[in-house]
């Protein structure tokens, strides 16, 4: 039982929990408590140190900014206004706080606020749906367009949209890059002839992909009833991120171990069998590494693309907060930053688990 748990934990890349589990079950108490200290306490300590540093740095920036602001007011509006501002800042009123790096506490508050907002918006949306349920049924029966909720999406809705877009883009890049990579890997001629194209397209920035895709999608989807911005962003994400998979697949397929190819020859496998029973399994580790890179690139460029394409999601959330410039906007942006980072990390972990499940290791 214990070994099973430890195995599962290690499998998920959470190996640092191992000493703690062993400690809890009373195994080699001295050694394991030392290990647990080392592997859990120190990382926790580093978090504390990080927050402290952040706190003091934001304090410092704040003070500099406040002094500047007060001096400016003094010069432009006289001592009375300056005194008022100084008092306001000293009182800790958020509306007078200068616009700089928010402190950890402010970010935590912003997170709480975003969560509360989400709950309020979710109830609103549910009420709306309940209210219009019967009406919409009637409208649908009469062949009329249903009334849909058009309220502002909450932070959680934005996360969901972003995840939806990234998965659509990731799927698209798998569908394009894996088969194409196999074909290129199998044929030396094709690989060398199309290498230039891959090398040129690989470093193209997400912004350019977005523009290119919107040029095309705009005309192709003129009368199709879909969310155009969603289509544009997921296609751009897919095109942007598929190169790692394409290159890795073709390299993996073209460099199958000679011993395995000899087995295929001795067993006289046909082309299809050779591809599916020898070439693909042996290049699976390479393909998966490519897919992992693809997913993390997809998630990274997604934010930029959403921001530019004005399609809903975390990217546009960040952009709107930046534009809106209210007192807690900066904190919300930092919240978004952490959320983006944590989700990216989790996506990579999920891919790693799949990789371990599906590929062999020597």
């Amino acid at each position: 039982m214990k070994t099973k748990i430890i195995k599962a934990v290690k499998f998920m890349g959470l190996g640092y929990l191992e000493p703690l589990i062993r400690l809890i079950t009373g195994e080699e108490v001295r050694k394991n408590s030392k290990d647990a200290f080392k592997r859990i306490l120190f990382p926790l300590l580093s978090v504390v140190v990080f927050i402290l540093l952040w706190h003091s740095f934001s304090n410092y920036l704040n003070n500099v900014e406040s002094t500047l602001k007060i001096e400016k007011t003094l010069k432009n509006q006289g001592p009375e206004a300056a005194k008022k501002l100084e008092d306001c800042i000293a009182s800790g009123d958020i509306s007078c706080r200068p616009n700089s790096l928010p402190s950890p506490a402010m970010v935590a508050t912003a997170l709480g606020k975003l969560w509360d907002d989400h709950k309020i918006m979710a109830t609103k949306k549910q009420d709306f749906i309940d209210k219009y349920e019967t009406i919409n049924e009637e409208r649908a029966a009469n062949g009329e367009i249903e009334i849909v909720y058009t309220g502002r999406p909450s932070f959680v809705d934005q996360i969901k949209t972003s995840l939806k877009t990234v998965f659509a883009g990731f799927l698209l890049s798998i569908i394009i890059a894996v088969p194409l990579g196999i074909v290129l890997g199998l044929s030396d001629t094709l690989r060398t002839s199309f290498n230039w194209l891959i090398q040129i397209l690989k470093p193209v920035s997400p912004v350019v992909w977005l523009l290119l895709v919107s040029m095309i999608v705009k005309t192709v989807l003129t009368d199709v009833d879909v969310e155009k911005s969603f289509v544009i962003s997921f296609i751009s994400v897919g095109l942007c991120s598929m190169w790692a998979t394409l290159v890795n697949t073709s390299v993996g397929v073209s460099s199958v171990d000679k011993d395995f190819m000899n087995v295929a020859k001795v067993l006289q496998l046909g082309t299809i069998k050779k591809i599916f029973k020898i070439i693909l399994p042996s290049s699976f580790p390479m393909i998966f590494t490519g897919l992992r890179i693809t997913l993390s690139v997809a998630w990274m460029v997604l934010i930029a693309i959403e921001l530019l394409a004005q399609s809903p999601g975390l990217g546009s959330f960040v952009w709107e907060e930046f534009q809106n410039g209210s007192s807690d906007s900066n904190s919300k942006i930092i919240v978004a930053m952490f959320v983006i980072g944590i989700i990216g990390f989790m996506l990579d972990r999920i891919m790693m688990i799949f990789q371990k499940l599906l590929t062999f290791t020597d």
Binding site: N262, K265, V266, Q268, S282, D362
Partner: protein, 279 residues
């Protein structure tokens, strides 16, 4: 017409300055049902020879005739036990062998395949490891999987490239018997590459040394005229066996000496040093 015939076969690797001629003028005839062993030093070109016979590589010049026809590519009639096992790491022991069996016996039912696979895994004593992946096996266990895979394909001609090299003496002896029984069962033909002279003499009808490369050729052949079935322990007191074995070993030692004699050592001037004394 010989069952398998090599006529002046030459094989080299690389081109131009980097060209190494591994095998030159290999002439060999093997009759149907024969068991031939080839012994030789490491790097002399034994694996190259086996790969030629399996059809994995082609000779630069000369001819290889199998049942009178020149060899082109691989064939299920010629099975091979690879020296480096060449197991597929993503398949279990069972699946590795089953894949080979299915490839050869295309019209078999899955039950027939299953029986064949299990019986050969049994023969090499790996039933306890049937569902393990190659990386979970020891070197000797992997080697036994490779042996089972090749034998389960029931080839007419069995090419074995040092098939038992990684095994302990006891397992080795058991597998030698197993291979011999499969060979004699329905009169197959076998070519065994080995670096163990005793093994060659025990198993084969003829033992042929491969003179060390580059430009390796086959040496004089030794006919092993000892009745079958042979018994290992009894053989140790068989004068015929002793003479043959010693003859082959002497021959190998002689060509080994020739080889080292051919390499000239540079003459180093040694400085005249005397250890210092501390009193």
């Amino acid at each position: 017409m010989a069952y398998l015939e090599l006529k002046n076969v030459c094989k080299s690797y690389g081109e131009g300055k980097n060209k190494t001629e591994v095998l030159t003028n290999i002439n060999l005839k093997i009759e149907e049902g024969e068991f031939v062993a080839i012994v030789g030093f490491t790097g002399s070109g034994k694996t190259t020879l086996v790969n030629l016979l399996a059809g994995l590589i082609e000779p630069d010049s000369g001819e290889i005739l199998f049942k009178g026809q020149p060899i082109s590519g691989t064939s299920h009639e010629r099975g091979i036990i690879f020296q480096n096992y060449s197991l597929l790491p993503w398949l279990s022991v069972y699946e590795n062998i089953a894949m080979a069996v299915r490839a050869v016996f295309k019209d078999w039912t899955s039950k027939q395949v299953d029986e064949q696979v299990r019986s050969f895994i049994e023969k090499v004593n790996l039933t306890h490891a049937i569902n393990k992946k190659p990386k979970e096996l020891s070197g000797g266990m992997r080697q036994r999987v490779a042996v089972a895979r090749a034998l389960a394909m029931k080839p007419e001609l069995i090419l074995m490239d040092e098939p038992l090299g990684a095994l302990d003496a006891l397992t080795r002896g058991n597998l030698q018997e197993e291979i011999l029984s499969i060979w004699s069962e329905d009169k197959r033909t076998a070519l065994l590459i080995t670096n163990d002279v005793d093994e060659g003499v025990f198993m084969a009808d003829r033992v042929i040394p491969l003179r060390p490369g580059p430009k390796a050729t086959l040496g004089p052949e030794f006919n092993i005229n000892i009745d079958r079935p042979r018994n290992k322990i009894a053989l140790n007191h068989n004068d015929n066996f002793k003479t043959l074995r010693n003859g082959i070993i002497e021959y190998l030692m002689q060509i080994g000496k020739e080889r080292t004699a051919g390499i000239e050592l540079p003459n180093y001037e040694l400085p005249d040093l005397v250890p210092m004394k501390f009193d």
